[in-house]
Amino acid sequence: MQLIQQIAFIILAGVSIFLFAKKVGEIRRNILLGRDEDLNDNPGQRWKNMTLLALGQQKMFKKPLPAFLHLAVYAGFIIINIEILEILLDGVLGHHRLFAAPLGSLYAVLIGFFEILAVLVLVSCLIFLGRRNITKVRRLNLKELNGWPRNDANIILITEVILMSLFLTMNTADLVLQSRGAEHYTITSQFWITSNFTGMFENLSNETLIGIERTGWWLHIIGVLIFMNYLPYSKHFHIILAFPNAYYMRLKPQGEMKNMKEIQNEVLYMMQPELAPAAPTDGSQPVQQRFGAKDIMDLSWKNLLDAYSCTECGRCTAACPANLTGKALSPRKIMMDTRDRLEEVGENINKNKTFQDDGKSLVHDYITVEELRACTTCQACVEACPVGIEPLDIIQQLRRYLVMEESNSPQEWNLMFGNVENNMAPWKFSPDERDKWAEELNAQA
């Protein structure tokens, strides 16, 4: 019986890890569909950003209550993984509470500490469920979350509640079995939380308790393995990608818009034709680059990493002036759309080996012109993101495509462009009157 359990465990863990690695490989391939961008400069500052934002949750604390609850779940998640290590080793070796003997009295202290974390996680997740489904915090109930994103969030929270409940139930049964000197149940000191609940199980037989303990143990580890495989399909993947995303985040001032070298050169050669490279003698045409971004392949890999790192918390949208005044734009939706389109392209590649044109694109099919037009480039979305995501960068690249490739701009902007080009100012004034104010001041004196 024990051997069957061991073999079953090893197969289960092996298959889970294989499937997880396969999906992660697909996501990596998808991210690399983006244009190349060198973000390896200044490693010192990048490590610092990762430590502060991803590990230290620095930006979360702009909103203290959710930050505290999130910290509890996050700390619980990371630290309870030590317990998962024991469960994994027990599973493979057919042992029970492998660490109890070597750690001695420290063991119960450690498990007691994990139990406190488990309770904190449990309570935090229940409050989070309440915020989403009962008190209806605005940013957690906007329409872009309808359907799968809302279910995804609830599945994650409910799963965590179940996993923590299983962990606590398992320990309670274990303590009762220990007190009765049941075989295989290593005697430890009392655990801080569950020792208070052993009374609930006193009337049950040893067989039933072993059943509860084993069921708790198996469901807990199966739950963890399923959850691991659920992650890459879910917004919850941010628990992994927050780290690289914070590492590669923008170091330049937020106000700075990326330069387009290809257009800079066009203008330079137009102004100074003597600098233009000679036409290729072999009659080949230079590769035509797209101006701006129409689809995910035109974005940079960092934009695509951003999309996979987004956990749809909506802090960007909650700070967006366009969204707050009822416009269609939601920076969170920009990220969700980018990820959805990226996943669609990824599936297309899985099916056809290389991407086969499906007649769709990120602009128009996912993100509308109306949304893109409403952005004031105020950078509130970039500032708000706890993990360094930049919805604004994507918006700006899509706008470039609209204006430069589709000549798709409102009439007022066309007038402004014309004024800038002809009068050197966005309004229709004569350039000769540019220093009229100075003449007026001089005349006053």
Partner: protein
Amino acid sequence: MHIKSMAEYMANGETPEVLFWVGCAGSFDQRAQRITKAFAQILDKVGVKFAILGKEEMCTGDPARRAGNEFLFQMMAYNNIQTLNGYEVKKIVTACPHCFNIIKNEYPPLGGNYEVIHHTTFLQQLINDGRVKLKGGGEFKGKKITYHDSCYLGRGNGIYEAPREVLAALDVELIEMKRCRTNGLCCGAGGAQMFKEEEAGNTRVNFDRSSEAIETGANIIAANCPFCTTMLTDGVKNKEKEDSVAVLDIAEMVARSLAD
């Protein structure tokens, strides 16, 4: 007072301390011209040798670039950088955060490298150096004032304290809005929105922001950007508060408080 152009300085074989980049709003918009004049008067009064480009200045290309027209931006930037480099300009001060951001951050990759200062930072330095002297118990002493962080000075470039320090020097009673500093709310004009109608929504961004400013009970909304000034003034008018709430640029406040 005689405002000299870069060309005049060069013809006299002189170099100014700083180039005042006026910007299109500051040059042509009637409301923003008052800010330009106020700032120029301060510089003149405290003896800062400054030049303007005059008719040689052109739009930096900011609204074109933000709207997505990179070609037009690159053309404007090319011309401006040729002019600035031709005069060997080293230091630029501007009263427009959009000009400030684009010349400071986006001209260097195109070959335009200058020390660029926003006028509120420049004013703070002049006050700290004792060059700007303020009237004792100046015009704004003790008045309730709220300060609107412009996106391109605040979030865009992390400048939050210099304008507040100038207000502190004016001895005003600063009342912060709920959304201030990194959480500041846009006036609604950035990203070339100034040049078109807003998309359909419940309200306008500038109405929302102006209401928030008015709710602080302040009689003056201090701004650092000609676009914010226009947007907030419109918002105040929409609330029919123009008789009790004024929108002023920090330069205008300093100009009115200068010691004789």
